[in-house]
């Protein structure tokens, strides 16, 4: 649709026309703000824990374990210098005492979601796949944060309550 619009603008006489072909789906998937009636509170991006720990491939697992546990976490994401997610260290791995590299110990290619996914879709997926957390990345794979199931379910209940209240008030008006 936007290529035709761009050509049409040129035919009208606009001389500097650009086509953002990936559009607002791409914008939202990068965690960038959108305006409108839908509201960002219905999206996963509003409920991330952004302080999730990260480490590099060449670090020693034992060093990472100490750091992650001290910060009160039981998971850690393996990223490169551009914050692209390469793997994950889960609870079991972080309990190991082996002197190995992060690269040897990690689970590669963890499943991720985009921040533009709706909260109800994310919660449904976590329930279906029995997941307690979901890592959230941009469409390029850059880590944005972690969605925790408990927090997501609480937020969804609140959203549904507010939505039901608004409907009820609307029907009484």
């Amino acid at each position: 649709m936007s290529p035709r619009a761009a050509w049409r603008l040129e035919s009208i006489g606009f001389t500097e026309v650009y086509d953002y072909v990936a559009g607002k789906a791409d914008w939202g998937s990068a965690g960038l703000p959108l305006e409108g009636t839908r509201g960002s509170e219905t999206r996963v991006g509003a409920y991330l824990r952004r302080d999730v720990p990260t480490c590099q491939l060449d670090e020693r697992l034992s060093d990472v374990c100490i750091r992650v546990r001290a910060a009160g976490w039981d998971t850690c994401f393996v990223v490169n210098e551009a914050q692209i997610v390469l793997g994950r260290l889960g609870r079991t791995t972080l309990a190991r005492e082996d002197d190995v590299s992060v690269e040897e110990a990690m689970s590669a290619g963890p499943s991720t979601v985009r921040p533009s996914v709706t909260l109800d879709q994310a919660v449904e997926r976590m329930r279906r796949q029995n997941l307690n957390t979901l890592p959230v990345t941009t469409s390029e794979g850059r880590l944005l944060g972690l969605l925790e199931r408990d927090a997501a379910e609480r937020a969804l209940r609140e959203l549904n309550r507010n939505s039901a209240r608004a409907l009820s008030e609307g029907s009484q008006a």
């Binding site: 649709m1 936007s2 290529p3 035709r4 619009a5 761009a6 050509w7 049409r8 603008l9 040129e10 009208i12 006489g13 606009f14 500097e16 026309v17 650009y18 086509d19 953002y20 072909v21 990936a22 559009g23 607002k24 789906a25 791409d26 914008w27 939202g28 990068a30 960038l32 703000p33 959108l34 305006e35 409108g36 009636t37 839908r38």
Partner: protein
């Protein structure tokens, strides 16, 4: 010929004064759009509708995705 651009280009051009135009129908625009975008649905895109755009500034059009 219109130039295809990516997200980084959008941010750079908007910071330099480009105008953002969403060409989806009004209901979709109302629901969600890029900050400071205006709405001119493709079906309504003509000389009259574009009078609200400034001729001397770049224009960026977008829709939902590659459709």
């Amino acid at each position: 010929m219109p130039n295809p651009i990516d997200r980084d280009d959008v941010q750079r051009l908007v910071a330099a004064g480009a105008q953002l135009v969403e060409v989806l129908p009004a209901a979709e625009f109302e629901e969600e759009h890029l900050p400071n975008a205006i709405n001119i649905p493709l079906k309504e895109l003509d000389r009259e509708a574009t009078r609200q755009l400034k001729r001397g500034r770049p224009v960026i059009v977008y829709c939902h995705d590659y459709q």
